[in-house]
Symmetry: C2
Subunit: 525 residues, 2 copies
Amino acid sequence: MCLGELGWTGSGPPCSLPIFELLNHKTNHMTTTFNDATTQEIDQLMEKSWEAFLAYRTLPLRARAEFMRAIALELEEIRGKVVPVAMEETQLPEGRLQGELNRTIFQLNNYAAAAEHGDWLEARIDTAKPDREPAPKPDLRKMLVPLGPVIVFGASNFPFAYSTAGGDTACAFAAGCPVVIKAHPAHAQTSEIVASAVFAAARKTGMPEGIFAHVHGASFETGKALVMHPRTKAVGFTGSLAGGKALFDMANQRKEPIPVFAEMGSINPVFLLPEKVKQDAEQVARQYAASITQGVGQFCTNPGLIFGLDNEDLDRFSRSLVQALQEVAPAKMLHPGIAKAYAQKRAAALQQPEVQTETLANGTETTEGLPTLASATATAFLNNPVLHQEVFGPYSLLIRCKTMEQMYEAALKTEGQLTCTLMATEGDLQTYPEIFLQAQQICGRVIFNGVPTGVEVCLSMQHGGPYPATTDSRFTSVGADGIKRFARPLCFQGFPDALLPPELQNQNPLGIWRTVDDVLTQAPL
Amino acid sequence: MCLGELGWTGSGPPCSLPIFELLNHKTNHMTTTFNDATTQEIDQLMEKSWEAFLAYRTLPLRARAEFMRAIALELEEIRGKVVPVAMEETQLPEGRLQGELNRTIFQLNNYAAAAEHGDWLEARIDTAKPDREPAPKPDLRKMLVPLGPVIVFGASNFPFAYSTAGGDTACAFAAGCPVVIKAHPAHAQTSEIVASAVFAAARKTGMPEGIFAHVHGASFETGKALVMHPRTKAVGFTGSLAGGKALFDMANQRKEPIPVFAEMGSINPVFLLPEKVKQDAEQVARQYAASITQGVGQFCTNPGLIFGLDNEDLDRFSRSLVQALQEVAPAKMLHPGIAKAYAQKRAAALQQPEVQTETLANGTETTEGLPTLASATATAFLNNPVLHQEVFGPYSLLIRCKTMEQMYEAALKTEGQLTCTLMATEGDLQTYPEIFLQAQQICGRVIFNGVPTGVEVCLSMQHGGPYPATTDSRFTSVGADGIKRFARPLCFQGFPDALLPPELQNQNPLGIWRTVDDVLTQAPL
């Protein structure tokens, strides 16, 4: 943690106690050091965050939106500075990072508009009925209010869009919550620069001090101290199952358990239906080669499992997919730790009995993600839980099913997923309705004739799914509905109009949609 | 568990292995025996519940609503039979039970109407933009879908409204989930009779077999086996903190953690503001004597803590409250276990240093709830956590504060609550805004010049609050928004219109409200 995190001094100088160091991928030299926040520092900043919460929660929706739009503007300002740093820290190419920064800016503006528009508040009014028998009915009005300070853990694979000023942060600010960022050590400098933009926006829009804080910490202890702090009221996390589950368990063991929305990845099964494969084997294969290797396979929506009916059409698909994958040059992964984990998990999968390696690119596996396709029979898949595990990287496993019944049986074996994809003709879905029903049962988003990579930022997006895809399938981390993760309903009973928040006043001064006596309306009472 | 639970044989005969027995309060004879469900029986019924889920989730909203309305009709049919049994099992008077049955019927009809109306589905549509740069935007549509089988634990203090066919059950059926009831042992016969009404309604409306099951179990193991079963996807509970927390912990330690909404009670602080007490001390005291003793104090919204400024006006209030409480005759509590727990917790509170007994009625404390008022200084309250604990029964603790600052400080010490009440003039709230802000921070419902007992069933009700009032402050167990506890968003990407559920089809055949390209509308596309 640096000075900047408690006040308004921007990104601040590196602090004095080097606990972890950043690896410069090009030179392999340690270039920048940050210290882990101490317990005392965390305590101080959480108290400041709480004070900021008490002020921020009473600001009008417009003020929240203006703050978020100011962050978007500041991010545009730092574009020239931060993208090269992110390129060095993450090995991601400039085009991808520019696009991700665009998306981050879009998210801030989109959620700001949603915050101001107020649909997410779920405003409800039931008017009094003084003459009701046997007892009068009081006036009741309800809306969502913020939970309190939110800890956001930066994600290694999205240095902008799911990190410091990313989707969780934007949702928390929109809900009325201060944010404390636990920077991802793998892009700590990028995170510092983005944090400076958030600080600048907060200063320019007159936000309460403590509305945002930025904490470094390479050890697990830093994250633990943040999650366990009594002032913390919610957690947003994107990362591994092990990391997300550990935070979830900690949060539930607190004296006061708090909600953790952890998005922990997925293998995103794809079901190739027979008529579709017969018609479009080669085209689907090209589409999937691009999806499997997009961003060096480092997306939580990467298609890691492809089911098809074992026949000549699937052979054509497999040959085309191998050929297309072989045309993709291996590229560096986010950091050597991820490359190492990918190589290990891939090797473990390929060593399983009955698993065939269809293609494995040549390259430097200590840093690069080598595009890989493996295959196995559905019988092997059904009997071997190792094959159900995510291999995070440009890897996919093709499962050859003897019958559609076996494909359905295999689908039943997969755990909760972010997405399921059906590559199918309409006739296929009419012939095999079970697979469509099963897909809906196990995931948060079901895709027809597309690829799971590429997550739209819009209200109808669901980025979340049954465990272990996320810790709570009832919420999303993409789209403005993600705001609801950090808010709770509060009911006002019997209050005079002037004492109510404007959202619930008779005149509806903000013009928001409200459900009045069970009818949605924007009209005043 | 009896035969009726797996099929359609109604309430069925008592089974052969008596594990616990019901105490007849009048005769003190064991009258009826039920056996705990075995692990094998639970496994069987959960598989049936899952099969029912796969069928029920695809039924139209109208079919769910018809089923719920049929249950309401069946409850009316069994009224003459079930109320006397409930009177004997719970010691609650006929008027209260008739009213509670009315409320239960109202809930079923109200949530059925909400289910059919479809606002709760949060239907969202973002239309495709094939010409968007740099990549086309696909068509995305989202709505809430059911989680799966829900375990509902019957509550001892609401044999109808929060038990077998109560609010949790109605919400789960509305969401599209089958229900498995764990009957409360203290009103097992009542539960059996209500279950027979649900079975009859299911049969008459052609619901899939397994849509509902009814399980007995006096031991903790039965509940545990139900919560831990892999087919179980959510839990609804109303009861003690110890019980709710235990279920919450179990559910989070499953291989696949599942949501538990446990409503675990509250002490419902009341803040008496000075101008109001000066004006209306006697009237407020009478109002609160009725609220404290309503239902022998066995409501989770019972006002257990009253804060006032220590002055002559508060003395008047206290004297009037004591007098009014002394006019209330002690009455039998739900069962001897609850009476015993009340006597113990009350004794523990009254034994604390600096706690004064203002009034304690004479009576038989082994079975009756003796109306009690105690008092203490705010200093004592601030320093003694025992005084922050719920004493479930007709008990309240009056806290005398030296200053409004001390009242505010004491308010900060209270934990999460279902309700907070401000007895205040409008001038009071203008003079002391902090207490209004703090009240909003700690509870789910803030009440102006009323009593917390009496929970309206309507959309704007919030029956839930920060921990330990409930396990998740983001949900409610009263009002149609409670349906959302048992549903999750599912996104359909790129599907042809005919393959979409009707709720998301272009023509909007159900006429529901949907957010289309960020605008709420009932219009077709």
